[in-house]
């Protein structure tokens, strides 16, 4: 009973959403397809006997529920268009298709960047005969950061997980560089020690190493776009986290990002470069230009962003500027409170990005 009630409630919500005029045509098509999925699913459950396995129906319900949450978030008209624009630009370097982004503003201190669950979409096609033409990604960020682009830097770490899961980077790494043969991971036993341990212990460490590699890869992607700001934000957000089965220690994460940005040799980075090359993906490289924001920001003016690399670069130098002004405010910033220094720094970055979006749209329309 509850399952069918849930599906009807979700159907009602999606139908309401389909009547709002806020979506792009791609999202409109997507919502219509989801409503068809729910209608067919309800019909199959109402048949006697039910024409679909209960577990399958539950799985589809859970998935559609989550998708609906992000679609609803996208209608609130409060989303940070500037940050999603930057993320969209970064993601476009790793795949041929423009991402269809749905955004949720959440109350928890967490960030998400999930691709749609392809297995479930395949299941929908097999079980219900509905092919979903677009598979949007879901981005979520804390409500209190919606106007704080510098505090949304972790979204670029989440982008790293997205790139990984879409291209099986870490999974492939375990095939080519198994956990028993290295490279050795910081804070964990040496690979030679793991290789000489029991099968159970080996399996235990395989999962941990898979998790750690995924985090390192995401950190490296974040550092490649955000530079030192990736380390700086992590130091503020998770100052001294110890190693765990899911995450490396904070210090190990800082070090790998620092090695990458300083061009130092690091076997884990070399492993990922090898995998990326084998997968036909771009290599890990610094993908931003060090844009000097200080002359403009000191005068409380936004900066002009002429390229995508400058767009990414504003986060690195913007973060450095915020840190400098927080410690030693000078000039026009001298009499501002710490709160105003943070607010204005973030606002100048938000405005610089939005100005680029405006001019890009204007120029594309004027000179198609």
């Amino acid at each position: 009973m509850l399952l069918k009630s849930n599906l009807r409630l979700l159907l009602n919500q999606l139908e309401n959403l389909s009547e709002t005029p806020y979506f792009s045509s791609d999202l409109d098509v997507y919502i219509r397809e989801l409503t068809v999925v729910l209608k067919i699913l309800i019909d199959k459950l109402q048949a006697s006997p039910a024409a679909i396995d209960n577990n399958v129906a539950h799985a589809i319900q859970d998935h559609v529920w989550q998708l609906t949450q992000f679609l609803t978030g996208s209608t609130t008209k409060r989303i940070p268009y500037e940050v999603t624009y930057a993320i969209q630009k970064a993601a476009s370097e790793w795949g041929p298709n423009k991402l269809l982004i749905t955004t949720a503003i959440i109350q928890e201190a967490n960030f998400y960047f999930h691709s749609s669950n392809k297995t479930l979409f395949d299941l929908v096609e097999t079980e219900l005969g509905v092919k979903i033409s677009h598979q949007p990604v879901q981005i979520a960020l804390p409500h209190i950061y919606r106007h704080k682009p510098l505090f949304c830097i972790p979204l670029f770490h989440e982008l790293g997980h997205f790139i990984d899961s879409n291209n099986d980077v870490v999974t492939t790494s375990l095939l080519i560089h198994p956990h028993t043969s290295g490279p050795d991971m910081p804070d964990l036993p040496k690979s030679s020690d793991i290789a000489s341990s029991s099968p159970e212990i080996q399996q235990h460490f395989k999962l941990i190493i898979q998790n750690h590699r995924a985090e390192y890869f995401a950190d490296l992607i974040c550092a490649s776009y955000m530079g030192e700001a990736a380390i700086g934000f992590l130091q503020e957000f998770i100052p001294a986290s110890l190693v765990s089965p899911t995450h490396p220690s904070s210090n190990a994460r800082y070090k790998i990002m620092d090695d990458f940005l300083k061009g130092k040799n690091n076997p884990i980075i070399e492993m990922f470069q090898n995998i990326l090359s084998k997968r036909g993906l771009p290599s890990l490289s610094v993908r931003y230009t060090s844009l000097d924001v200080a002359p403009s920001f000191k005068n409380v003016r936004p900066v002009e962003l002429n390229t995508d690399t400058e767009l990414f670069g504003i986060f690195a130098t913007g973060w450095a500027f915020l840190m400098d002004m927080s410690k030693t405010p000078i000039g026009l910033w001298e009499h501002l409170s710490e709160n105003d220094i943070e607010r204005i720094s973030n606002d100048l970055i938000e405005k610089s990005i939005r100005n680029r979006m405006i001019m890009e749209g204007w120029n594309e329309t004027t000179n198609p």
Binding site: R78, E304, K351
Partner: protein
């Protein structure tokens, strides 16, 4: 005091000196008129809404818990070219699309462009020398019909006046709450310390 003309505005905008007029983005050259610049409607809005409390009271007389002014407004954002409907008798806070920096000897007067005045829409404000930020626009529809405003359209014009002396906008005594703002901010009327004094006088 002198009203800046077309060429003087251009000279200010081209000057690399940090203490000059700055406008970004200035999308089209023809926004600069003979004695003013057309400014465009921005993309962030705070829309006044009705609440269970019938009136905005910046300084309640009794011990009743004060309802914050911010809760009388709802935030909404748009993309350039998108629409925003301004209903009759509704207060909507927005900003200009352009970010403006004024030198310490120039102040600005903002008024509605006549095309919008004739629809019943009004915008009037001033900016002090040294201002940094998008121009706050308090939109009000005096007409009987809702008006669909297009984000990025030229809704107001700004005239710049050069004054003889210089003004320090941000000082140790006055840090300026709206300094550097890029989106609308609700009234800070409730932060006026004199209101408490006035209430005490009334209660005596």
């Amino acid at each position: 005091m002198k009203l800046l003309t077309h060429n003087e505005i251009l000279d200010q905008l081209k000057d690399s000196n940090p203490n000059t007029l700055f406008i970004d983005p200035l999308i089209a050259d023809d926004q600069i008129g003979s004695v003013s610049i057309d400014f465009r409607l921005g993309y962030d809005f705070l829309v006044s809404i009705l609440t269970r409390k019938p009136a905005i009271d910046p300084c309640p007389l009794d011990d009743e818990k004060k309802r914050g002014i911010e809760s009388y407004f709802q935030e909404t954002r748009r993309q350039i070219g998108d629409r925003f409907v301004l209903y009759p008798n509704q207060v909507v806070l927005s900003t200009s699309l352009e970010y403006v920096c004024l030198p310490d000897n120039i102040y600005a007067e903002i008024s509605t462009r006549s095309s919008y005045s004739r629809l019943g829409v009004s915008v009037t404000t001033t900016l002090q020398p040294g201002w940094r930020g998008c121009i706050p626009l308090e939109l009000f529809n005096h007409g009987n019909s809702p008006v669909e405003m297009v984000v990025g359209s030229r809704v107001c014009q700004v005239r710049f006046f050069e004054i003889d002396s210089k003004v320090d906008y941000v000082t140790a005594k006055s840090s300026r709450k709206y300094f550097g703002a890029v989106r609308p901010t609700v009234s800070r009327a409730d932060k006026d310390e004199e209101l408490n004094k006035l209430s005490k006088i009334f209660k005596r």
